[in-house]
Amino acid sequence: MVKLTIDGKEVQADEGKSLLEVCTDNGIFIPSLCFLKEMTNPPASCRLCFVEVEGLPKPVPSCRQSPAEGMVVRTDTELVRRLQRSALQLLLSAHHVDCRNCHANKRCALQNIAKFLGVGLKPKRLEPLAMEFPQEREHPNFIYDPYKCVLCGRCIFVCRKRTGYGVLTFARRGIDTVVSWFGADGPDSPPCDRCGECVNACPVGALKSKETVQAPMEAAGA
């Protein structure tokens, strides 16, 4: 165990945990999309969980920072918030914001974080990405919407590491990157249990299980 200061509060922490977890355990909210507790090597791809650590020249992603004895951490400086707001606005500009018709409405991490950071869901200063027609792709067990995906990689992580199926993968690259699976654009559907871990891991509404699709009213009421 080590002692460190977060936002002026002295806390005790397990060195094995990430700084992000330590903050969350102590009731400090850090915006984050891609991190999961079991990750030994977090991708730090969402660029949201920044904190400032005294002695380090720049804000660091807290999911990849281990707590150390005597560390002084600030989570709510203007620099941190500016980074987080920019990152979120960029994500939102490539996100099909249609909360009213989205099955993840009210339990979407993007909504929560936008509210927390005081960012509008449709950032005006960034031109939204052209999303002309629906691009949903169907897997026997779930439906994937690339226009809602934030490419956090959580579904891929749980599919590979937690369940060991390894059905999901990133495909293509750059602006065209999507979450996909072998045989996604053919009739050759991949083997997959209906474990539903990927759908549960999605922080937004990019993945939905086929059951949710059939009974949207029920899901909204739950």
Binding site: G166, V167, L168, T169, F170, A171, R173, S180, W181, F182
Partner: protein, 182 residues
């Protein structure tokens, strides 16, 4: 319209035995994935689902992983090349004068996306970076012929040309056959 898709009864699909022989010299190492895929594409012209599954089995990775890696690189294609290969240049000069529109025209006329092949295996459309004749932009290369200063009407003309040619050949064939019967 769906893109052409190989199936097991297809003559163009190399027997799996041949594929296995191709894989054999490669060690079971993850870093061999890309060289293996390159070798297969060189021999087959594209990566079939069956080939990717075999590679996955050989290297002990999931088929998804093979697909993920292969789809990252422009050099790999997942559809067999068509009889007539159309390459639309999207290099800087062609991009500036609307190469994208030419590509879209081909795609719409043939009912396929770039990287795909029509179900009758007649045409495949690909996007390429610069082909080296920027003065002629926008450029499309159909089989071996370079078409400069492309326009949507020319797209139609090229495809119509192939259709007429095909019909002419069919007519000749019919005539020959009916001639030999007499």
């Amino acid at each position: 319209m769906d893109a052409a898709r190989p199936n097991e009864n297809d003559d163009n699909v190399t027997p799996l035995k041949v594929l296995a022989a191709t894989l054999a010299p490669f060690d079971v190492k993850r870093e061999n994935l890309i060289p293996i895929l390159q070798t297969i594409q060189e021999k087959e012209g594209y990566l079939s689902p069956e080939a990717m599954k075999m590679v996955a089995k050989h290297l002990g990775v999931t088929a998804s992983e093979v697909y993920g890696v292969a789809s990252f690189y422009n050099q790999f294609r997942f559809h067999p090349p068509g009889k007539h290969q159309i390459k639309v240049c999207l290099g800087t000069a062609c991009h500036v004068v609307g190469g994208e529109i030419i590509l879209e025209n081909f795609e719409r006329k043939l009912g396929i996306k770039h990287g795909e092949t029509t179900p009758d295996r007649e045409f495949s459309v690909d996007r390429v970076a610069c082909v080296g004749c920027c003065a002629l932009a926008p450029v499309a290369i159909v089989d071996e012929t370079t078409h400069g200063h492309m326009a949507p009407s020319k797209v139609e003309g090229i495809l119509l040309g192939f259709q007429i040619e095909k019909e002419r050949k069919e007519r000749e064939k019919e005539q020959r056959e009916s001639g030999s019967q007499q």
